[in-house]
Symmetry: C2
Subunit: 332 residues, 2 copies
Protein backbone atom coordinates (compact mmCIF):
# COMPACT_ATOMS: atom_id res chain seq x y z
CA UNK A 1 0.00 0.00 0.00
CA UNK A 2 1.16 3.49 -0.68
CA UNK A 3 1.80 6.28 1.76
CA UNK A 4 0.92 9.97 1.76
CA UNK A 5 2.08 13.07 3.59
CA UNK A 6 0.44 14.58 6.63
CA UNK A 7 1.57 17.33 9.00
CA UNK A 8 0.96 17.14 12.73
CA UNK A 9 1.03 19.99 15.23
CA UNK A 10 3.62 19.10 17.88
CA UNK A 11 4.20 22.39 19.71
CA UNK A 12 2.41 25.63 20.55
CA UNK A 13 3.49 28.96 19.03
CA UNK A 14 6.24 30.53 21.13
CA UNK A 15 8.54 33.54 20.95
CA UNK A 16 9.89 32.16 17.67
CA UNK A 17 6.41 32.57 16.18
CA UNK A 18 4.98 30.07 13.74
CA UNK A 19 7.14 27.90 11.52
CA UNK A 20 8.36 24.39 10.82
CA UNK A 21 9.49 23.92 14.45
CA UNK A 22 5.80 23.54 15.43
CA UNK A 23 5.13 20.72 13.01
CA UNK A 24 6.13 17.16 12.20
CA UNK A 25 5.83 15.75 8.69
CA UNK A 26 4.74 12.09 8.67
CA UNK A 27 4.26 9.61 5.87
CA UNK A 28 1.65 7.09 7.00
CA UNK A 29 -0.35 4.63 4.90
CA UNK A 30 -3.20 6.14 2.94
CA UNK A 31 -6.27 5.37 5.10
CA UNK A 32 -9.08 3.13 3.80
CA UNK A 33 -12.76 4.04 4.11
CA UNK A 34 -14.95 1.80 6.27
CA UNK A 35 -18.66 1.28 5.65
CA UNK A 36 -20.37 4.70 5.48
CA UNK A 37 -17.08 6.48 4.80
CA UNK A 38 -15.42 8.08 1.84
CA UNK A 39 -11.74 8.49 0.87
CA UNK A 40 -10.85 11.93 -0.44
CA UNK A 41 -7.70 13.07 -2.19
CA UNK A 42 -7.19 16.72 -1.26
CA UNK A 43 -6.02 18.78 -4.21
CA UNK A 44 -6.20 22.31 -2.74
CA UNK A 45 -5.92 23.30 0.90
CA UNK A 46 -7.00 26.66 2.27
CA UNK A 47 -4.78 28.67 4.65
CA UNK A 48 -6.80 31.00 6.89
CA UNK A 49 -5.93 33.37 9.74
CA UNK A 50 -8.24 31.34 11.99
CA UNK A 51 -5.59 28.60 11.96
CA UNK A 52 -3.39 30.72 14.17
CA UNK A 53 -6.06 30.60 16.85
CA UNK A 54 -6.42 26.84 16.46
CA UNK A 55 -2.71 26.39 17.25
CA UNK A 56 -2.94 28.16 20.62
CA UNK A 57 -3.96 26.21 23.73
CA UNK A 58 -6.84 28.56 24.36
CA UNK A 59 -9.85 27.00 25.98
CA UNK A 60 -11.95 30.11 25.51
CA UNK A 61 -11.89 30.28 21.75
CA UNK A 62 -14.85 29.40 19.59
CA UNK A 63 -13.47 26.07 18.47
CA UNK A 64 -11.19 23.76 20.46
CA UNK A 65 -7.49 24.07 19.72
CA UNK A 66 -5.80 21.38 17.70
CA UNK A 67 -4.40 18.85 20.20
CA UNK A 68 -0.65 18.34 20.13
CA UNK A 69 0.09 15.29 18.01
CA UNK A 70 -3.03 15.72 15.85
CA UNK A 71 -3.03 16.50 12.15
CA UNK A 72 -3.34 20.28 11.77
CA UNK A 73 -6.89 21.45 10.97
CA UNK A 74 -7.86 23.20 7.72
CA UNK A 75 -10.50 23.38 5.06
CA UNK A 76 -9.89 22.26 1.52
CA UNK A 77 -11.01 20.99 -1.82
CA UNK A 78 -10.62 17.49 -3.19
CA UNK A 79 -11.90 14.55 -5.14
CA UNK A 80 -13.54 11.33 -4.00
CA UNK A 81 -11.22 8.39 -4.68
CA UNK A 82 -13.22 5.60 -3.06
CA UNK A 83 -16.66 5.63 -1.49
CA UNK A 84 -18.60 3.41 0.90
CA UNK A 85 -21.03 6.26 1.51
CA UNK A 86 -24.40 6.41 -0.29
CA UNK A 87 -24.17 10.18 -0.91
CA UNK A 88 -20.73 10.26 -2.56
CA UNK A 89 -19.41 8.69 -5.76
CA UNK A 90 -15.89 8.31 -7.10
CA UNK A 91 -15.01 11.46 -9.02
CA UNK A 92 -17.19 13.82 -6.96
CA UNK A 93 -15.54 17.14 -6.18
CA UNK A 94 -15.96 18.07 -2.54
CA UNK A 95 -15.12 20.92 -0.19
CA UNK A 96 -15.13 21.15 3.60
CA UNK A 97 -13.07 20.58 6.74
CA UNK A 98 -10.03 18.58 5.78
CA UNK A 99 -6.61 18.78 7.44
CA UNK A 100 -2.96 19.20 6.53
CA UNK A 101 -2.76 15.93 4.60
CA UNK A 102 -2.92 14.56 1.09
CA UNK A 103 -5.62 11.95 1.68
CA UNK A 104 -8.26 11.63 4.36
CA UNK A 105 -11.27 9.55 5.26
CA UNK A 106 -14.57 11.19 6.15
CA UNK A 107 -18.01 10.05 7.24
CA UNK A 108 -19.41 12.92 5.18
CA UNK A 109 -19.89 15.32 8.11
CA UNK A 110 -18.69 18.79 7.17
CA UNK A 111 -17.99 17.77 3.56
CA UNK A 112 -20.13 19.06 0.70
CA UNK A 113 -20.28 18.17 -2.97
CA UNK A 114 -19.41 21.00 -5.33
CA UNK A 115 -21.04 21.99 -8.59
CA UNK A 116 -18.94 20.23 -11.28
CA UNK A 117 -16.75 22.63 -13.16
CA UNK A 118 -16.28 25.13 -10.34
CA UNK A 119 -12.65 26.20 -10.23
CA UNK A 120 -11.11 24.97 -6.93
CA UNK A 121 -9.40 28.31 -6.26
CA UNK A 122 -12.62 30.20 -6.82
CA UNK A 123 -14.46 27.73 -4.62
CA UNK A 124 -12.01 28.20 -1.73
CA UNK A 125 -11.67 31.96 -2.25
CA UNK A 126 -15.35 32.82 -2.41
CA UNK A 127 -17.71 29.96 -1.59
CA UNK A 128 -15.83 28.74 1.49
CA UNK A 129 -14.87 30.42 4.75
CA UNK A 130 -14.01 33.85 3.25
CA UNK A 131 -17.30 34.38 1.46
CA UNK A 132 -19.43 32.94 4.24
CA UNK A 133 -17.61 35.08 6.82
CA UNK A 134 -17.89 38.25 4.75
CA UNK A 135 -21.60 37.70 4.05
CA UNK A 136 -22.51 36.84 7.63
CA UNK A 137 -20.53 39.67 9.22
CA UNK A 138 -21.44 42.38 6.75
CA UNK A 139 -25.18 41.81 6.48
CA UNK A 140 -26.06 40.49 9.95
CA UNK A 141 -23.94 42.88 12.01
CA UNK A 142 -22.83 45.65 9.63
CA UNK A 143 -26.36 46.20 8.22
CA UNK A 144 -25.07 48.27 5.28
CA UNK A 145 -27.34 50.83 3.64
CA UNK A 146 -26.88 52.51 0.27
CA UNK A 147 -25.23 55.89 0.65
CA UNK A 148 -23.40 54.98 3.84
CA UNK A 149 -19.62 54.77 4.23
CA UNK A 150 -17.85 51.52 5.09
CA UNK A 151 -14.21 51.13 6.10
CA UNK A 152 -12.70 47.65 6.03
CA UNK A 153 -9.23 46.73 7.29
CA UNK A 154 -7.32 43.87 5.71
CA UNK A 155 -9.11 45.02 2.59
CA UNK A 156 -7.00 42.99 0.18
CA UNK A 157 -7.41 39.88 2.31
CA UNK A 158 -9.73 37.02 1.57
CA UNK A 159 -12.59 38.29 3.77
CA UNK A 160 -11.98 42.03 3.45
CA UNK A 161 -11.91 42.01 -0.34
CA UNK A 162 -15.33 40.35 -0.46
CA UNK A 163 -16.79 42.63 2.24
CA UNK A 164 -15.74 45.69 0.27
CA UNK A 165 -17.09 44.43 -3.04
CA UNK A 166 -20.44 43.42 -1.51
CA UNK A 167 -20.78 46.85 0.10
CA UNK A 168 -19.79 48.58 -3.12
CA UNK A 169 -22.37 46.56 -5.06
CA UNK A 170 -24.98 47.71 -2.53
CA UNK A 171 -24.20 51.38 -3.08
CA UNK A 172 -21.94 52.25 -0.18
CA UNK A 173 -18.82 54.38 -0.27
CA UNK A 174 -16.04 51.87 0.48
CA UNK A 175 -12.56 52.63 1.80
CA UNK A 176 -10.08 49.78 2.25
CA UNK A 177 -7.08 49.72 4.56
CA UNK A 178 -4.14 47.70 3.21
CA UNK A 179 -0.43 47.25 3.86
CA UNK A 180 1.18 47.93 0.47
CA UNK A 181 0.92 50.15 -2.56
CA UNK A 182 0.37 47.10 -4.76
CA UNK A 183 -2.66 46.03 -2.69
CA UNK A 184 -4.00 49.58 -2.67
CA UNK A 185 -3.92 49.65 -6.45
CA UNK A 186 -5.52 46.22 -6.72
CA UNK A 187 -8.54 47.01 -4.54
CA UNK A 188 -9.15 50.37 -6.23
CA UNK A 189 -8.37 49.49 -9.85
CA UNK A 190 -9.52 45.88 -9.98
CA UNK A 191 -12.11 45.57 -7.24
CA UNK A 192 -13.62 49.03 -7.54
CA UNK A 193 -13.13 50.32 -3.99
CA UNK A 194 -13.53 54.10 -3.79
CA UNK A 195 -10.13 54.52 -2.17
CA UNK A 196 -7.40 52.74 -0.25
CA UNK A 197 -5.22 53.72 2.68
CA UNK A 198 -1.83 52.13 3.23
CA UNK A 199 -1.61 51.83 7.01
CA UNK A 200 2.18 51.98 6.79
CA UNK A 201 2.05 55.50 5.36
CA UNK A 202 1.93 58.76 7.27
CA UNK A 203 -0.95 60.96 8.30
CA UNK A 204 -3.50 58.19 8.66
CA UNK A 205 -5.93 60.48 10.48
CA UNK A 206 -5.70 63.09 7.76
CA UNK A 207 -6.07 60.59 4.90
CA UNK A 208 -9.03 59.00 6.63
CA UNK A 209 -10.68 62.38 7.21
CA UNK A 210 -10.28 63.32 3.56
CA UNK A 211 -11.61 59.98 2.32
CA UNK A 212 -14.60 59.79 4.69
CA UNK A 213 -15.99 63.33 4.60
CA UNK A 214 -19.35 62.10 5.91
CA UNK A 215 -17.86 59.93 8.64
CA UNK A 216 -18.00 56.15 8.89
CA UNK A 217 -21.15 54.08 9.35
CA UNK A 218 -19.76 50.55 9.19
CA UNK A 219 -16.30 49.51 10.38
CA UNK A 220 -15.38 45.94 9.42
CA UNK A 221 -12.30 45.09 11.48
CA UNK A 222 -10.03 42.30 10.25
CA UNK A 223 -6.65 43.35 11.58
CA UNK A 224 -6.42 45.56 14.65
CA UNK A 225 -3.42 47.87 14.76
CA UNK A 226 -3.17 51.61 15.38
CA UNK A 227 -5.50 52.66 12.57
CA UNK A 228 -8.34 51.13 14.62
CA UNK A 229 -8.25 54.24 16.81
CA UNK A 230 -8.46 56.62 13.86
CA UNK A 231 -11.39 54.73 12.34
CA UNK A 232 -13.23 54.46 15.66
CA UNK A 233 -12.82 58.20 16.13
CA UNK A 234 -14.73 58.90 12.89
CA UNK A 235 -17.69 56.60 13.52
CA UNK A 236 -21.09 58.17 12.93
CA UNK A 237 -24.07 58.08 15.25
CA UNK A 238 -25.64 54.61 15.26
CA UNK A 239 -22.56 53.16 13.55
CA UNK A 240 -21.86 49.42 13.55
CA UNK A 241 -18.51 47.77 14.19
CA UNK A 242 -18.00 44.19 13.02
CA UNK A 243 -15.06 42.60 14.84
CA UNK A 244 -13.94 39.75 12.62
CA UNK A 245 -10.17 39.51 13.01
CA UNK A 246 -7.30 40.97 15.02
CA UNK A 247 -4.30 39.50 13.20
CA UNK A 248 -2.01 42.32 14.34
CA UNK A 249 -2.50 41.28 17.97
CA UNK A 250 -2.83 37.50 17.83
CA UNK A 251 0.74 36.73 18.72
CA UNK A 252 1.79 39.78 20.71
CA UNK A 253 2.51 39.19 24.37
CA UNK A 254 0.47 42.23 25.37
CA UNK A 255 -2.28 43.04 22.85
CA UNK A 256 -2.68 46.75 22.14
CA UNK A 257 -5.36 48.58 24.05
CA UNK A 258 -8.49 49.76 22.28
CA UNK A 259 -10.27 53.12 22.16
CA UNK A 260 -12.05 54.39 25.25
CA UNK A 261 -15.76 53.59 25.27
CA UNK A 262 -17.10 57.16 25.64
CA UNK A 263 -17.98 57.34 21.90
CA UNK A 264 -19.94 54.09 22.29
CA UNK A 265 -22.39 56.18 24.33
CA UNK A 266 -22.16 59.53 22.58
CA UNK A 267 -22.71 57.93 19.19
CA UNK A 268 -24.73 54.92 20.37
CA UNK A 269 -22.44 52.50 18.57
CA UNK A 270 -22.93 48.77 18.35
CA UNK A 271 -19.91 46.49 18.28
CA UNK A 272 -20.12 42.77 17.82
CA UNK A 273 -17.59 40.01 17.48
CA UNK A 274 -18.43 36.89 15.58
CA UNK A 275 -16.98 33.63 14.41
CA UNK A 276 -18.24 31.79 11.37
CA UNK A 277 -18.26 28.51 13.29
CA UNK A 278 -21.45 29.69 15.04
CA UNK A 279 -23.20 30.09 11.73
CA UNK A 280 -22.36 27.01 9.67
CA UNK A 281 -26.00 25.94 9.87
CA UNK A 282 -26.79 29.18 8.02
CA UNK A 283 -24.35 28.40 5.20
CA UNK A 284 -27.07 27.55 2.63
CA UNK A 285 -28.83 30.88 3.26
CA UNK A 286 -25.53 32.77 3.19
CA UNK A 287 -24.56 31.15 -0.11
CA UNK A 288 -27.96 32.05 -1.50
CA UNK A 289 -27.31 35.66 -0.53
CA UNK A 290 -23.78 35.67 -1.90
CA UNK A 291 -24.22 33.79 -5.18
CA UNK A 292 -26.14 36.48 -7.13
CA UNK A 293 -23.32 38.98 -6.54
CA UNK A 294 -20.83 36.43 -7.89
CA UNK A 295 -22.98 35.54 -10.89
CA UNK A 296 -23.27 39.22 -11.78
CA UNK A 297 -19.48 39.46 -11.82
CA UNK A 298 -19.33 41.74 -8.82
CA UNK A 299 -16.99 39.60 -6.71
CA UNK A 300 -13.46 39.23 -8.01
CA UNK A 301 -10.72 37.32 -6.26
CA UNK A 302 -7.11 36.38 -6.66
CA UNK A 303 -5.41 33.34 -5.26
CA UNK A 304 -1.89 33.26 -3.91
CA UNK A 305 -1.02 29.61 -4.49
CA UNK A 306 1.81 27.78 -2.75
CA UNK A 307 2.97 24.39 -4.00
CA UNK A 308 3.15 21.24 -1.91
CA UNK A 309 1.87 20.39 1.55
CA UNK A 310 5.12 21.39 3.28
CA UNK A 311 4.76 24.97 2.05
CA UNK A 312 1.92 25.49 4.58
CA UNK A 313 4.34 25.47 7.53
CA UNK A 314 6.04 28.68 6.49
CA UNK A 315 3.22 29.96 4.32
CA UNK A 316 0.97 30.80 7.22
CA UNK A 317 3.42 33.51 8.23
CA UNK A 318 2.35 35.47 5.18
CA UNK A 319 -0.67 36.58 7.23
CA UNK A 320 1.68 38.39 9.59
CA UNK A 321 3.98 39.90 7.00
CA UNK A 322 1.12 40.73 4.68
CA UNK A 323 3.21 39.51 1.77
CA UNK A 324 0.47 37.31 0.38
CA UNK A 325 -1.31 38.64 -2.65
CA UNK A 326 -4.75 37.13 -2.49
CA UNK A 327 -6.32 34.11 -0.92
CA UNK A 328 -3.65 31.73 0.38
CA UNK A 329 -4.07 28.28 -1.08
CA UNK A 330 -1.76 25.29 -1.00
CA UNK A 331 -1.91 23.19 -4.13
CA UNK A 332 -1.11 19.57 -3.35
CA UNK B 1 -44.04 91.41 40.41
CA UNK B 2 -41.81 89.05 42.27
CA UNK B 3 -38.53 87.55 41.14
CA UNK B 4 -37.09 84.05 41.33
CA UNK B 5 -33.69 82.47 41.05
CA UNK B 6 -32.21 80.87 37.96
CA UNK B 7 -28.71 79.68 37.15
CA UNK B 8 -27.12 80.18 33.76
CA UNK B 9 -24.16 78.35 32.28
CA UNK B 10 -21.53 80.97 31.41
CA UNK B 11 -18.37 78.91 30.84
CA UNK B 12 -17.29 75.44 29.76
CA UNK B 13 -15.64 73.02 32.21
CA UNK B 14 -11.89 73.61 32.30
CA UNK B 15 -8.91 72.36 34.29
CA UNK B 16 -10.60 73.63 37.44
CA UNK B 17 -13.41 71.15 36.80
CA UNK B 18 -17.01 71.95 37.53
CA UNK B 19 -18.06 74.49 40.14
CA UNK B 20 -19.59 77.91 40.74
CA UNK B 21 -17.11 79.56 38.31
CA UNK B 22 -19.10 78.04 35.42
CA UNK B 23 -22.40 79.58 36.50
CA UNK B 24 -24.14 82.85 37.07
CA UNK B 25 -27.05 83.23 39.50
CA UNK B 26 -29.71 85.62 38.24
CA UNK B 27 -32.93 86.90 39.78
CA UNK B 28 -35.30 87.78 36.95
CA UNK B 29 -39.05 88.31 37.09
CA UNK B 30 -41.13 85.17 37.39
CA UNK B 31 -42.30 84.53 33.82
CA UNK B 32 -45.97 84.60 32.90
CA UNK B 33 -47.65 81.92 30.77
CA UNK B 34 -49.07 82.96 27.39
CA UNK B 35 -52.02 81.25 25.76
CA UNK B 36 -51.32 77.50 25.55
CA UNK B 37 -48.68 77.69 28.24
CA UNK B 38 -48.41 76.74 31.86
CA UNK B 39 -46.39 78.21 34.77
CA UNK B 40 -44.68 75.62 36.95
CA UNK B 41 -43.04 76.08 40.33
CA UNK B 42 -40.26 73.55 40.53
CA UNK B 43 -40.03 71.92 43.96
CA UNK B 44 -37.43 69.22 43.30
CA UNK B 45 -34.71 69.23 40.69
CA UNK B 46 -32.79 66.12 39.59
CA UNK B 47 -29.01 66.14 39.25
CA UNK B 48 -27.76 63.54 36.76
CA UNK B 49 -24.35 62.59 35.35
CA UNK B 50 -25.66 63.41 31.88
CA UNK B 51 -25.49 67.09 32.85
CA UNK B 52 -21.72 66.97 32.68
CA UNK B 53 -21.99 66.11 29.00
CA UNK B 54 -24.46 68.92 28.41
CA UNK B 55 -21.92 71.44 29.75
CA UNK B 56 -19.25 70.48 27.22
CA UNK B 57 -19.21 72.10 23.77
CA UNK B 58 -19.40 68.72 22.10
CA UNK B 59 -21.28 68.66 18.85
CA UNK B 60 -21.18 64.88 18.63
CA UNK B 61 -23.14 64.08 21.74
CA UNK B 62 -26.68 62.80 21.66
CA UNK B 63 -28.23 66.08 22.74
CA UNK B 64 -26.95 69.58 21.96
CA UNK B 65 -24.84 71.22 24.66
CA UNK B 66 -26.36 73.97 26.74
CA UNK B 67 -25.46 77.25 25.04
CA UNK B 68 -23.39 79.70 27.06
CA UNK B 69 -25.75 82.19 28.66
CA UNK B 70 -28.69 79.77 28.75
CA UNK B 71 -30.32 78.44 31.89
CA UNK B 72 -28.69 75.12 32.73
CA UNK B 73 -30.73 72.08 31.64
CA UNK B 74 -32.19 69.52 34.04
CA UNK B 75 -35.23 67.44 34.78
CA UNK B 76 -37.40 68.03 37.77
CA UNK B 77 -40.67 67.85 39.64
CA UNK B 78 -43.07 70.68 40.32
CA UNK B 79 -46.55 72.04 40.66
CA UNK B 80 -48.70 73.99 38.25
CA UNK B 81 -49.20 77.56 39.55
CA UNK B 82 -51.06 79.06 36.60
CA UNK B 83 -52.35 77.48 33.42
CA UNK B 84 -53.48 78.69 30.02
CA UNK B 85 -53.13 75.17 28.69
CA UNK B 86 -56.15 72.87 28.31
CA UNK B 87 -54.32 69.78 29.63
CA UNK B 88 -53.04 71.28 32.88
CA UNK B 89 -54.82 72.68 35.93
CA UNK B 90 -53.54 74.64 38.89
CA UNK B 91 -52.34 72.18 41.52
CA UNK B 92 -51.31 69.43 39.07
CA UNK B 93 -48.05 67.75 39.97
CA UNK B 94 -45.78 67.42 36.94
CA UNK B 95 -42.41 65.98 36.01
CA UNK B 96 -40.19 66.50 32.98
CA UNK B 97 -37.45 68.64 31.45
CA UNK B 98 -37.14 71.76 33.55
CA UNK B 99 -33.96 73.76 34.15
CA UNK B 100 -31.93 75.24 36.99
CA UNK B 101 -34.62 77.66 38.07
CA UNK B 102 -37.42 78.04 40.58
CA UNK B 103 -40.21 78.85 38.13
CA UNK B 104 -40.57 78.16 34.44
CA UNK B 105 -43.09 78.41 31.65
CA UNK B 106 -43.79 75.44 29.39
CA UNK B 107 -46.00 74.71 26.40
CA UNK B 108 -46.45 71.22 27.81
CA UNK B 109 -43.85 69.53 25.60
CA UNK B 110 -41.74 67.15 27.67
CA UNK B 111 -43.84 67.71 30.80
CA UNK B 112 -46.07 64.97 32.19
CA UNK B 113 -48.69 64.94 34.91
CA UNK B 114 -47.91 62.65 37.82
CA UNK B 115 -50.21 60.35 39.76
CA UNK B 116 -51.31 62.45 42.77
CA UNK B 117 -49.68 61.32 45.98
CA UNK B 118 -46.48 60.05 44.40
CA UNK B 119 -43.52 61.15 46.51
CA UNK B 120 -41.39 63.59 44.46
CA UNK B 121 -38.15 61.93 45.50
CA UNK B 122 -39.47 58.51 44.53
CA UNK B 123 -40.75 59.93 41.24
CA UNK B 124 -37.36 61.43 40.35
CA UNK B 125 -35.38 58.43 41.66
CA UNK B 126 -37.33 55.67 39.92
CA UNK B 127 -39.91 56.90 37.41
CA UNK B 128 -37.69 59.47 35.72
CA UNK B 129 -34.36 59.21 33.89
CA UNK B 130 -32.78 56.61 36.23
CA UNK B 131 -35.56 54.05 35.97
CA UNK B 132 -36.15 54.57 32.27
CA UNK B 133 -32.41 54.28 31.58
CA UNK B 134 -32.02 51.15 33.68
CA UNK B 135 -35.03 49.47 32.12
CA UNK B 136 -34.09 50.32 28.54
CA UNK B 137 -30.43 49.35 28.88
CA UNK B 138 -30.91 46.20 30.88
CA UNK B 139 -33.72 44.59 28.92
CA UNK B 140 -33.07 45.82 25.37
CA UNK B 141 -29.30 45.40 25.32
CA UNK B 142 -28.40 43.30 28.37
CA UNK B 143 -31.11 40.68 27.66
CA UNK B 144 -30.81 39.13 31.15
CA UNK B 145 -31.74 35.50 31.72
CA UNK B 146 -32.41 33.76 35.03
CA UNK B 147 -29.31 31.96 36.26
CA UNK B 148 -26.89 34.28 34.50
CA UNK B 149 -24.42 36.58 36.23
CA UNK B 150 -24.58 40.37 35.90
CA UNK B 151 -21.94 42.85 37.03
CA UNK B 152 -22.90 46.51 37.27
CA UNK B 153 -20.54 49.39 37.99
CA UNK B 154 -21.74 52.48 39.80
CA UNK B 155 -23.99 49.99 41.57
CA UNK B 156 -25.09 52.37 44.31
CA UNK B 157 -25.87 55.08 41.77
CA UNK B 158 -29.30 56.03 40.55
CA UNK B 159 -29.18 53.82 37.43
CA UNK B 160 -26.94 51.04 38.73
CA UNK B 161 -29.00 50.41 41.84
CA UNK B 162 -32.14 49.87 39.74
CA UNK B 163 -30.32 47.70 37.16
CA UNK B 164 -29.08 45.41 39.90
CA UNK B 165 -32.46 45.12 41.60
CA UNK B 166 -34.27 44.38 38.32
CA UNK B 167 -31.73 41.68 37.47
CA UNK B 168 -31.95 40.23 40.97
CA UNK B 169 -35.74 40.11 40.72
CA UNK B 170 -35.37 38.21 37.46
CA UNK B 171 -33.20 35.52 39.01
CA UNK B 172 -29.67 36.58 38.06
CA UNK B 173 -26.60 36.52 40.25
CA UNK B 174 -25.80 40.22 40.71
CA UNK B 175 -22.46 41.73 41.71
CA UNK B 176 -22.19 45.49 42.19
CA UNK B 177 -19.06 47.61 41.98
CA UNK B 178 -19.05 50.61 44.31
CA UNK B 179 -16.59 53.12 45.76
CA UNK B 180 -17.09 52.82 49.51
CA UNK B 181 -17.71 50.30 52.24
CA UNK B 182 -20.93 52.08 53.15
CA UNK B 183 -22.29 51.71 49.62
CA UNK B 184 -21.19 48.07 49.50
CA UNK B 185 -23.20 47.36 52.63
CA UNK B 186 -26.20 49.26 51.34
CA UNK B 187 -26.48 47.36 48.04
CA UNK B 188 -25.99 43.97 49.70
CA UNK B 189 -27.96 44.44 52.91
CA UNK B 190 -30.73 46.75 51.72
CA UNK B 191 -31.02 46.10 47.98
CA UNK B 192 -30.25 42.38 48.05
CA UNK B 193 -27.28 42.25 45.66
CA UNK B 194 -25.36 38.97 45.98
CA UNK B 195 -22.10 40.79 46.63
CA UNK B 196 -20.27 44.08 46.25
CA UNK B 197 -16.74 44.99 45.26
CA UNK B 198 -15.17 48.25 46.39
CA UNK B 199 -13.10 49.30 43.39
CA UNK B 200 -10.75 51.20 45.70
CA UNK B 201 -9.71 47.98 47.44
CA UNK B 202 -6.95 45.60 46.42
CA UNK B 203 -7.01 42.43 44.37
CA UNK B 204 -9.92 43.38 42.16
CA UNK B 205 -9.20 40.50 39.77
CA UNK B 206 -9.14 37.99 42.60
CA UNK B 207 -12.31 39.32 44.23
CA UNK B 208 -14.10 39.31 40.91
CA UNK B 209 -12.98 35.75 40.14
CA UNK B 210 -14.25 34.55 43.50
CA UNK B 211 -17.58 36.33 43.16
CA UNK B 212 -18.25 35.29 39.55
CA UNK B 213 -17.27 31.62 39.52
CA UNK B 214 -19.32 31.03 36.37
CA UNK B 215 -18.03 34.12 34.56
CA UNK B 216 -20.06 37.18 33.60
CA UNK B 217 -22.92 37.25 31.09
CA UNK B 218 -24.04 40.87 31.35
CA UNK B 219 -21.76 43.84 32.09
CA UNK B 220 -23.65 47.07 32.72
CA UNK B 221 -21.02 49.82 32.58
CA UNK B 222 -21.79 53.11 34.34
CA UNK B 223 -18.35 54.35 35.31
CA UNK B 224 -15.31 53.21 33.34
CA UNK B 225 -12.11 52.98 35.31
CA UNK B 226 -9.56 50.17 35.65
CA UNK B 227 -12.02 47.53 36.85
CA UNK B 228 -13.51 47.61 33.34
CA UNK B 229 -10.55 45.51 32.18
CA UNK B 230 -11.03 42.91 34.90
CA UNK B 231 -14.74 42.59 34.17
CA UNK B 232 -14.21 42.41 30.40
CA UNK B 233 -11.67 39.65 30.94
CA UNK B 234 -14.28 37.46 32.65
CA UNK B 235 -17.05 37.83 30.08
CA UNK B 236 -18.67 34.59 28.98
CA UNK B 237 -19.32 33.47 25.42
CA UNK B 238 -22.19 35.47 23.89
CA UNK B 239 -21.98 38.00 26.73
CA UNK B 240 -23.57 41.44 26.44
CA UNK B 241 -22.00 44.75 27.46
CA UNK B 242 -24.27 47.75 28.02
CA UNK B 243 -22.28 50.99 27.87
CA UNK B 244 -24.35 53.53 29.77
CA UNK B 245 -21.87 55.84 31.49
CA UNK B 246 -18.15 56.56 31.71
CA UNK B 247 -18.06 59.07 34.57
CA UNK B 248 -14.44 58.21 35.44
CA UNK B 249 -13.32 59.47 32.03
CA UNK B 250 -15.65 62.36 31.27
CA UNK B 251 -13.30 65.08 32.40
CA UNK B 252 -9.89 63.53 31.91
CA UNK B 253 -7.74 65.08 29.23
CA UNK B 254 -6.82 61.66 27.84
CA UNK B 255 -9.51 59.05 28.50
CA UNK B 256 -8.16 55.66 29.56
CA UNK B 257 -7.82 53.05 26.86
CA UNK B 258 -10.12 50.06 26.78
CA UNK B 259 -9.46 46.32 26.51
CA UNK B 260 -8.20 44.88 23.25
CA UNK B 261 -10.97 43.51 21.02
CA UNK B 262 -9.68 39.93 20.64
CA UNK B 263 -12.20 38.62 23.22
CA UNK B 264 -14.99 40.28 21.23
CA UNK B 265 -14.27 37.62 18.59
CA UNK B 266 -13.26 34.68 20.75
CA UNK B 267 -16.34 35.07 22.92
CA UNK B 268 -18.64 36.64 20.30
CA UNK B 269 -19.48 39.53 22.60
CA UNK B 270 -21.95 42.28 21.81
CA UNK B 271 -21.32 45.77 23.13
CA UNK B 272 -23.73 48.64 22.68
CA UNK B 273 -23.81 52.20 23.85
CA UNK B 274 -27.09 53.96 24.35
CA UNK B 275 -28.61 57.21 25.49
CA UNK B 276 -32.08 57.46 26.93
CA UNK B 277 -32.82 60.48 24.74
CA UNK B 278 -33.22 58.09 21.77
CA UNK B 279 -35.94 56.21 23.58
CA UNK B 280 -38.22 58.80 25.13
CA UNK B 281 -40.97 57.71 22.77
CA UNK B 282 -40.75 54.30 24.44
CA UNK B 283 -41.21 55.76 27.93
CA UNK B 284 -44.79 54.50 28.35
CA UNK B 285 -43.75 50.94 27.48
CA UNK B 286 -40.69 51.18 29.71
CA UNK B 287 -42.76 52.43 32.64
CA UNK B 288 -45.20 49.59 32.06
CA UNK B 289 -42.30 47.16 32.28
CA UNK B 290 -40.81 48.83 35.36
CA UNK B 291 -43.91 49.53 37.44
CA UNK B 292 -44.75 45.94 38.47
CA UNK B 293 -41.29 45.54 40.00
CA UNK B 294 -41.84 48.72 41.98
CA UNK B 295 -45.35 47.74 43.07
CA UNK B 296 -44.02 44.40 44.33
CA UNK B 297 -41.53 46.26 46.51
CA UNK B 298 -38.52 45.03 44.57
CA UNK B 299 -37.04 48.43 43.76
CA UNK B 300 -35.73 50.42 46.69
CA UNK B 301 -34.08 53.80 46.43
CA UNK B 302 -32.54 56.46 48.57
CA UNK B 303 -32.34 60.15 47.82
CA UNK B 304 -29.43 62.38 48.67
CA UNK B 305 -31.16 65.72 48.94
CA UNK B 306 -29.42 69.07 48.76
CA UNK B 307 -31.20 72.27 49.79
CA UNK B 308 -31.64 75.33 47.62
CA UNK B 309 -30.98 75.96 43.93
CA UNK B 310 -27.45 77.22 44.52
CA UNK B 311 -26.41 73.87 45.98
CA UNK B 312 -26.52 72.38 42.45
CA UNK B 313 -23.39 74.26 41.39
CA UNK B 314 -21.13 72.35 43.76
CA UNK B 315 -23.42 69.37 44.20
CA UNK B 316 -22.79 67.99 40.75
CA UNK B 317 -19.21 67.28 41.78
CA UNK B 318 -20.50 64.53 44.04
CA UNK B 319 -20.67 62.35 40.93
CA UNK B 320 -16.90 62.59 40.63
CA UNK B 321 -16.06 62.13 44.29
CA UNK B 322 -18.70 59.45 44.72
CA UNK B 323 -19.66 61.05 48.04
CA UNK B 324 -23.36 61.13 47.23
CA UNK B 325 -25.43 58.50 48.95
CA UNK B 326 -28.34 57.90 46.66
CA UNK B 327 -30.09 59.82 43.93
CA UNK B 328 -28.98 63.45 43.93
CA UNK B 329 -31.94 65.78 44.24
CA UNK B 330 -32.05 69.51 44.89
CA UNK B 331 -35.02 70.57 46.97
CA UNK B 332 -36.04 74.11 46.11
Amino acid sequence: MSTHKEIRLIARPDERGIGPHLFELKQPQIPQPAQGEVLIKQTHMSLDPAMIGWMHPDTESYIPPVALGDVMRSSGFGEVIASNHPDFSVGDQVMGMTGWCEYFVSDGQGINKIQPGLNPEMALSIFALPGLTATQGLFSIGKPKAGETLVVTGAAGSVGSIVGQLAKADGLRVIGVVGSQEKAEWIVNELGFDAAINYKSDNLEQQLAELTPNGIDVFFENTGGPIQHAIFERMNTFGRIVVCGMIADYTTEQPALAPNWIPMIKKRLTMQGFAMTDHFQDAPALLEKLTPYVMQGKIKYRAHTLKGLESAMDGINLFFTGDNKGKLIVEL
